[in-house]
Symmetry: C2
Subunit: 372 residues, 2 copies
Amino acid sequence: MNGRILNASRAPVRQSSVRAHNLALVLQTVANSANRPSRAAIAGSTGLTRATVSALVDDLIAGGLLTEHDPAPRTGAGRPAAGLALSSEGPAGLGLEINVDYQAACVVDLTGVVRHRFVARGDQRLLSPAAALAELDVLAVRARSAAEADGLTLAGAALAVPGLVAPGGLVRVAPNLGWQDVRVPELAGLPITVDNEANLAALGELRADGTEPSFVYVSGEIGIGAGIVLDGVLYRGGRGWSGEIGHVTVYPDGRPCRCGANGCLEQYAGQEAVAADPDLAAAALGIALSAVVNLLDLGVIVLGGGYAPEFARLSEGIEAELRRRVLTAGLAPVTVRPAALGADAAMLGAADAVIRDVQEDPAGWLARAQAV
Amino acid sequence: MNGRILNASRAPVRQSSVRAHNLALVLQTVANSANRPSRAAIAGSTGLTRATVSALVDDLIAGGLLTEHDPAPRTGAGRPAAGLALSSEGPAGLGLEINVDYQAACVVDLTGVVRHRFVARGDQRLLSPAAALAELDVLAVRARSAAEADGLTLAGAALAVPGLVAPGGLVRVAPNLGWQDVRVPELAGLPITVDNEANLAALGELRADGTEPSFVYVSGEIGIGAGIVLDGVLYRGGRGWSGEIGHVTVYPDGRPCRCGANGCLEQYAGQEAVAADPDLAAAALGIALSAVVNLLDLGVIVLGGGYAPEFARLSEGIEAELRRRVLTAGLAPVTVRPAALGADAAMLGAADAVIRDVQEDPAGWLARAQAV
DNA sequence: TGGGATTTGTTTATTGGTTGAATTATTTGG
DNA sequence: CCAAATAATTCAACCAATAAACAAATCCCA
């Protein structure tokens, strides 16, 4: 039970790592609580002692990650508990998005509340990548000032892009933007991570409806992308290029695709195809998603992006194919549902990725905050 | 760098967990070394101090997991190092397999050497599940006696089955055995885990060629299964039913499959189909594997089971489809290779799964060994 | 042949972090 | 107003890793 291995990582563990882990454990316990838990409640649910939890909470409060509140509930005898909650004045995340016809930025605080939101409409394909990024920098700087006016410190930024992203913020290809091998620089003077829009939207969905640890999020825009979340962790693939469901073959000898192959899902369930023939799109989606479920045994499929508003027209056709083609459909249910987040999903997921990093490694944040 | 989070697990961490982790770290470092590393070399490659490594190694030697050897190499000045190696007299794993026309058992020691091997040929479909398991128990007891005669202690057993396995050793369906909802009991008095044959074969492959952390192992027997290994960890799926590549749709309106759908891979690349038309099989495999790579971004595909001997006839056709249908084929290579292990892969993988458990949690083994 | 250089492995005091028990704090209920 | 109950803190003990000094065993060179 105890004394189990921590993980398979090839790193030595010392006492400071213990504290780092337990700090994250406490912080995440608070983050995942519906109400405001007391130190004693945290001790109970984590298995740590009250003494340890007290010490950890002190650090988290001092570092501006938690705040102490009045003992809202009033039950039975005993000293009333002090409720703990994520601080809404601690670090915040800057979420950015570039898409075909708009740019957007948002500031999300540690509690998940969207504090600011900026959108600039305009066809990005008319701009060079450098010009587009310069414009995005203006938006980012504006968001940063707004955050600082609220007393928030931005912990970092994440940018959602409709394309293939290599490590280090290098956009290899973003066909619908016309980008190729574009390196994204610092924006608003913040360290930035760049990721595929479907991946980040999946992370946003994970936060919005945290009950399901494993699911696939399918985003239907001009292209089709998927974010795969396994056990609460976004799966990025060996080289960061997972989730290219748009180019899964549906009809081997079917319509030619711009990628050079024939019968890619994108040709049957892209934006135009959905508008032209929703039934065909649903069948094609159902075939491709059956492959996903047969391979990965995921119980939940989330339809996002352009699919969300079309959900009513698509779900029946998709589910019919799943019933027919998923081997274990009779043994375990597969549910299809629309995304909880709307068009902002990728940007919100980006901001969320930043604060997720802080929540997963509060010790790192405290050390950085200390250093400044 | 240091002070990073250990993992996302929701468990408290105490000093004993630190020791458990570092014990595993040292043991795995020895396991993954080509030569026999010294304590100082382990300290160097893990980042632990020599003092700590010494203490950990003492525990591992006392527990029969490591042995100390003479300073084989002779290089330069300084006190000669004592070489450390996995003990070949410590815990061992019992690997079991039931397939259509045979049963098999093997004993593999901690170093990975196959110490004993037993096979009983015979059509399992003529036996009831209970009778087949009783026969397997005979084999298991024989293997256990042989192991004990060598001074080996079996740490556990794992059984490979061609079918869908639910947690708790419940075989939900094994179509080619004619099994349905069969619960596997203790065999030879050992705790047993039951798993799909492709999953275990993939684990065996991971051990046999440990250089690639992420790959898919495809096993072509009567049915077709896949074991998916992501970052060195077997991915089992939300409910344990991942890797059903045999029922990925290749031709949506194609041949009817026994599962009720049409155009499943199994109908085009099962044993009979490969014999009848290798080119068709290769094309179908290529289409299905393209979906796997598009979704998961895996760089290596291992062809095992019945595909391994047919590799020369299949690889060209598979690679052609991959080149055509994998979106990122131009950016990152996908290699296809035959399995390193032969027909025994699943059974060896099963035995390996047992000793893998010991290697990943030596502290647990030491505690159990202590208790006896 | 002998002494310094070099590397391995052990010993010892120190440090950091959790635990468990005792203590303090604050409320409810009789 | 006191006892029971619950929350939170304090403090000594313990465990595991670290750093630095030390012991052991070899090589190399004069």
